[in-house]
């Protein structure tokens, strides 16, 4: 930085130097040189005074309060990681509820099918006709001559889905009527009970679990 600038005939301190001098931004040596010059130069002293006034006026400019808060709006927080949800929060509960309902429906279907004998390939009521006899001829409620043949081992389905077994013996052969005796066929039930029991336990377990978690979730 040039210390002095030449104006017409006199040598004066440069504007930049006066400015820095007023801010105390000169070296010690430069400060003393400027001080010395100003003591003898009215022009430079006047310059310095006017510039000091400018700085003073600018520094006295009032600080204008912020008209409002410039805090960032709430949506800007969207990227902040959300707190982790407990595993029993509503979304997983929905799946659990659906699983319990599915198990209950499956149980109902299996049980209803079991009771009604609705599973196609299974025998409804096994009627063993003349286990040791050759193929008998059964006449059931029909006049003699209106015969109905029944091969050995073939089943008869009794109306109403009731399981019935008609035992045809030599005594009954040739009689006018056959009196069916109702017996519960536990052979089929024995085949499905593990499935039914499993579904029942699953339904109860899922339902109970769901109930407990819902209570925990609602208490939070």
């Amino acid at each position: 930085m040039k210390l002095f600038s030449r104006s017409s005939v006199d040598v004066h301190i440069s504007q930049e130097m006066v400015s820095a001098f007023l801010d105390g931004a000169l070296s010690t040596k430069e400060m003393s040189q400027v001080d010395l010059h100003m003591a003898s130069c009215e022009v430079c002293a006047q310059d310095a005074n006017e510039l000091r006034s400018v700085i003073s006026v600018l520094g006295a400019m009032p600080t204008v309060p912020a008209p409002r808060s410039f805090a960032i709006p709430v949506p800007a927080r969207a990227w902040v990681p959300e707190p982790s949800r407990p595993w029993w929060s509503p979304a997983p509960l929905m799946g659990l509820r659906a699983a319990a309902a599915g198990a209950a429906i499956a149980l109902a279907i299996v049980f209803a099918g079991d009771l009604s004998g609705g599973f196609g390939s299974s025998p409804d009521v096994p009627i063993q006709v003349g286990r040791t006899e050759p193929a008998p001829i059964i006449t059931s409620g029909t006049p003699a001559g209106a015969e109905k043949s029944l091969p050995l081992g073939e089943d008869i389905v009794v109306d109403g889905g009731t399981s019935a077994a008609v035992e045809v013996t030599a005594d009954t052969l040739g009689s006018a009527d056959i009196q069916p005796s109702l017996v519960v066929d536990d052979g089929f039930l024995l085949g499905l009970w593990p499935l039914e029991l499993g579904l029942l336990l699953l339904t109860v377990a899922l339902g109970g679990f769901n109930f407990v978690l819902r209570r925990r979730s609602s208490s939070r």
């Binding site: 006017e50 510039l51 006034s53 006026v57 008209p67 410039f70 960032i72 990227w79 902040v80």
Partner: protein
């Protein structure tokens, strides 16, 4: 919490911590913007833009002077605004005088003094807006916001020597402008 703690929390996504920094700096940032552009509504926009931009760019701020970094964003936003095609280069002095931001008053002040001071504020603001941008920003940072030469150089990313020379020219221009309205100036200036 100190600034570094707030800054670190802000970087980790703590919006509340960042808003604490906003509250700390919003007034000086707003004042720099207001002195640069001379319009309150625009200054508000620039201030908001500054804090939003800084928030988005926080991850790029590694270390150093956060204040200088924030003011650099603000001054750049002011310059962008001033350079845009839609800006009115010259603000109306009447509008500035009517501006409520210059109606600061005190109980000891007489009505006459209040009017003179308000006119002076408006006149200074008008003079500021007529300065070249590079001089204006230095004058605002050093003489109004009281930044050091070094900090102003850091904000403006220029050498300290450049700050000194621009400041000198800006002061000289202000002196020339203010000398035409001596009746508004303090007695010390009028005696010159």
């Amino acid at each position: 919490m100190d600034e570094q703690t707030l800054l670190q929390a802000s970087k980790n996504g703590d919006a509340e911590a960042y808003n604490s920094l906003v509250l700390q700096y919003q007034t000086p940032i707003y004042n720099v913007a207001l002195r640069m552009v001379g319009e309150t509504a625009v200054a508000e926009d620039i201030t908001q833009e500054t804090f939003v931009s800084a928030y988005r760019a926080l991850h790029t701020f590694a270390a150093g002077n956060f204040r200088a970094w924030l003011f650099r964003i603000a001054t750049n936003a002011c310059r962008d605004h001033l350079r845009s095609a839609h800006v009115r280069r010259n603000s109306s002095l009447d509008a500035l005088v009517e501006n409520p931001t210059f109606s600061v008053s005190s109980n000891e002040e007489s009505p006459e003094d209040y009017v003179v001071r308000r006119e002076l504020s408006g006149f200074i603001q008008e003079s500021l807006t007529r300065l070249p941008e590079d001089q204006r920003v230095v004058l605002i940072l050093v003489d109004i916001q009281a930044f050091s030469y070094e900090e102003a150089a850091q904000i403006l990313k220029t050498p300290v020597g450049t700050v000194k020379s621009r400041l000198s020219r800006a002061r000289e221009a202000m002196r020339a402008t203010l000398s035409t309205q001596r009746e508004l100036l303090p007695g010390q200036f009028r005696s010159g």
